[in-house]
């Protein structure tokens, strides 16, 4: 049972990391253009200035 003492915090931490990553992605505009992103991946040119 002592394993729970560190397993639960680790599980929460990992979940929290996922949540933080999502919130960061949302804030930095990763979801602004879901249709366009699919095409941008196929572009050969380097990204713009």
């Amino acid at each position: 049972m002592t394993a729970l003492a560190w397993l639960i915090p680790v599980a929460l931490l990992l979940g929290g990391l996922g949540l933080a990553a999502f919130l960061w992605a949302l804030r930095s505009g990763q979801f602004e253009d879901l249709d366009g992103a699919a095409y941008r991946a196929l572009e050969d040119d380097p990204p713009d200035r």
Binding site: M1, L4, I8, A11, L12, G15, G16, G18, L19, F22, L23, L26, E32, D33, L34, D35, G36, A38, Y39, R40, L42, E43, D45, D48, R49
Partner: protein, 729 residues
């Protein structure tokens, strides 16, 4: 209308302004950006303009954001550059655009947080439940409940905000809305669970409270997604409607400005083939204008200096100089706006299905909860037990079907419409279109394409057609174009003649070896005919004149759509501002028995009102400025994408393309969405009927509450997903 919007002149004036080194950002709506290649072309075109720093296009929003140095570039240069690359672009009104997006993100953040919390609490709860059945000791179960509380409390405080704020607002206004029982259930469940956790009891509802919050937030988020999308499409459409106008400066030079920057008193040059950008008075030039968008009248009108012209009319023959006039109260547009305002008030009273259900639902939920609490108190239970049972009732009855299933259905339906190139502009339009039992069409531009074509083609000899078409090639008049089109279809090519003179309002003339050739009105060719307007005569020298008749061509599938609507039991009507003979012919061609001609906008409204008071719910399909009040007055309304901007603004749906089938598709999808929503209500109702008695009897444990909550939500969402999966084109 955009022409009267008091927006700043963001165009070239920004260059003259004293802002030094100002870096401006501009968002442009792009009409025809559809693929990844377009995305790059748009960005490259914008970056090619001197002074542009960054350009970022969004394929989903069909917009491009451009940061530029306002000393070197302006909106007009950017729009011109995009036009050269083949894209129609127009500046967005940026002030309004971002607010909806911010609320959308606000909800999404809360969905994420509550989803994270719901999963983790559920994980702990499952351990406790299965532990109860096996070997988990009480101390560990208590620890897990404490952990749940630690996760649940901040989550409820953060993710519950939209519900608490809305419930508070309703209570302040002495109303009850759906958010009142939701907030009550969440707050009571959380507080009671906290209390029970500290007492070491098993009646802990953190999992149910937080997953309730999560499902409800998903519903809110989907609903908002539909609104944001509908609003975004509407803004793009309206921005693209207003284009660029050419102003003649007092000293005589020409300058291009966006039409919304026009001011009364500005002098405009309207080139041949251009739409008039603002209401005004003709200063110089005589020409013919096509005002079918305004009045529904198909025959062109001749205008001279001093006459009024309206925004949206098409200049056909000669360049016109126009002075923009202030919007005073006596104009056609002012009357249309007044009629529309009155008509829209009626529509604002429409209450959405979910809201109507909530009106019945909220008091019932409160009543049941209260009855449970009081009943158990009277039966001799402690207040903790009574309150716990009441909370179970509140959680079980909480309206996931209303809050989650209806938005899910509508999102699925909107994507279906979008794939068929139908844009939904009003979020509740789908519900209203499903309720209609009568379809009212406008004629010009709706049933017809608003473009004349040559009638009795076969009675005209090849020789005459060839001669007439070589004259007609010199004119932009719609009848002339129809002749050229007919000639191209039959003879394969047209030889444009030289030395042609055009007299606006009358016709074309040219001298040839066989005598003078004339093409134009009866008067122009020296014939004393009945003077029917939709005809043109051709005469060479002293030969007998030949009559060419025209009619507005009906959309290719109009008759099929009408027949199909009839089969479905819809009543049909045709209301037009055009002449009786023309309307009669179109009505006969497409098979509509009920028709009215020569109606003014107020006449159309009066007709619709008479039908509405007879209990009919009408879908109005129209495109003209004269249809706008009728569109606003009807129960639901659609416009083609070629419609006047004021009509598109009023319309619930805007459809693209030359076909009329979108009307059928929108009705079908609206009906399917409605029946799905009703199915979901039924599912939720069955759940409640089964579980509420159990909850009131105190038999619902936290485990059952959580299972019922989640499974009913998942079931209704899965049902909604059926709509999205079906009938992909």
């Amino acid at each position: 209308m955009t022409a009267h919007a008091p927006a700043g002149r963001l165009a070239n004036e920004a260059e003259g302004a004293s802002r030094v080194g100002a870096s401006n950002t501009l968002t442009l709506a792009i009409e025809n950006m559809r693929c990844g290649g377009c995305l790059r072309s748009v960005e490259h075109a914008a970056l090619g303009v001197a002074g542009v720093e960054t350009a970022r296009a969004s394929l989903a929003a069909k917009r491009v954001s451009i940061a530029y140095d306002s000393r070197q570039a302006g909106a007009v240069e950017l729009i011109a550059a995009l036009k050269r690359a083949g894209f129609a672009a127009a500046p967005m009104e940026t002030a309004k655009e971002d607010r909806g997006d911010a609320w959308h993100k606000y909800l999404l953040r809360r969905v994420a947080v509550s989803g994270f919390a719901a999963m983790n609490i559920m994980l702990l709860s499952v351990a406790v439940w299965s532990g109860t059945a096996s070997d988990m000791d009480d101390a560990l179960a208590a620890l897990f409940r404490c952990l749940s509380a630690l996760i649940a409390l901040p989550t409820v405080a953060y993710a519950g905000q939209p519900f608490f704020a809305s419930a508070l607002g309703a209570l302040k206004g002495r109303r009850l809305n759906m958010d009142v029982p939701i907030s009550l259930a969440i707050l009571l469940a959380t507080a009671m669970s906290l209390y029970q956790t500290m007492r070491g009891s098993e009646q802990v509802y953190f999992d149910a409270a937080v997953s309730l919050l999560f499902f409800l937030l998903v519903g809110r988020f989907l609903d908002e997604t539909l609104r944001v999308r509908a609003r975004g499409e509407a803004q793009n459409l309206l921005s693209l409607q207003s284009g660029i106008a050419t102003i003649i400066e007092p000293e005589g030079s020409h300058r291009m400005v966006p039409t919304h920057a026009l001011r009364p008193g500005d002098q405009l040059l309207v080139a041949t083939g251009e739409r008039v950008a603002a209401d005004g008075v003709v200063l110089a030039g005589t020409g013919q204008i096509d005002q079918s968008l305004i009045t529904g009248e198909t025959a062109p009108l001749t205008v001279r200096a001093g006459q009024e012209v309206y925004a949206g009319t098409l200049n056909l023959t000669k360049p016109l100089q126009i002075q923009v006039r202030a919007a005073d109260t006596a104009t056609l547009l002012a009357e249309i706006s007044r009629l529309m305002l009155a008509a829209e008030q009626g529509k604002a009273r429409y209450r959405r299905l979910a809201d109507r259900a909530a009106q019945i639902y909220a008091p019932a939920v409160h009543g049941l909860g209260l009855a449970t609490f009081l009943g158990w108190l009277l039966a001799g239970a402690t207040w903790q037990t009574a309150l716990t049972y009441a909370i179970a009732v509140l959680i079980i009855t909480c309206p996931c079907a209303l809050a989650l299933a209806v938005p899910a259905v509508q999102i699925a339906a909107a994507s279906q419409l979008f794939r068929r190139r139908i844009i939904i502009k009003a979020a509740d339009g789908l519900e209203r279109i499903a309720e209609t039992d009568m379809v009212v069409f406008d004629k010009t531009g709706t049933l017809t394409l608003g473009r004349p074509e040559l009638l009795d083609d076969e009675t005209i000899s090849d020789k005459v057609l060839a001669a007439a078409s070589s004259l007609a090639a010199a004119s932009r008049h719609p009848y002339a174009r129809a002749i050229v089109e007919a000639a191209q279809k039959r003879l394969g090519s047209v030889l444009p003649a030289s030395g042609i003179e055009e007299t606006p309002g009358l016709g074309l003339a040219r001298s040839s070896p066989e005598g003078e050739e004339r093409l134009g009105s009866a008067e122009w060719c020296g014939i004393d005919s009945g003077g029917e307007e939709s005809e043109v005569w051709y005469r060479r020298g002293s030969e007998a004149p030949v009559r060419l008749r025209f009619a507005d061509s009906v959309r290719s599938d109009a008759a099929d759509v009408v027949a199909s609507l009839k089969r479905q039991g819809y009543r049909l009507a045709l209301l037009s501002g055009d002449r009786t003979a023309v309307v009669n012919r179109v009505a006969r061609d497409v098979g509509i028995e009920t028709w009215r001609a020569e109606l003014k906008p107020a006449g159309k409204i009066a007709w619709l009102d008479a039908c509405a008071s007879a209990g009919r719910k009408m879908l109005m399909v129209g495109d003209g400025l004269n249809d706008a009040p009728a569109l606003a007055a009807a129960h639901a309304c659609m416009s083609p994408a070629s419609a006047a901007d004021i009509s598109q603004r009023a319309a619930d749906f805007v459809f693209q393309g030359e076909k009329l089938t979108p009307v059928l598709e929108a009705i079908a999808i609206g009906k399917r969405a409605r029946s799905m929503a009703l199915q979901n209500f039924a599912v939720a109702f069955l759940y409640n009927v089964a579980c509420v008695p159990l909850a009131m009897a105190g038999l619902v444990t936290p485990l059952i509450a959580a299972i019922v909550m989640s499974s009913s939500s998942i079931l209704v969402t899965a049902n909604a997903a059926r709509l999205a999966g079906r009938g992909r084109p």
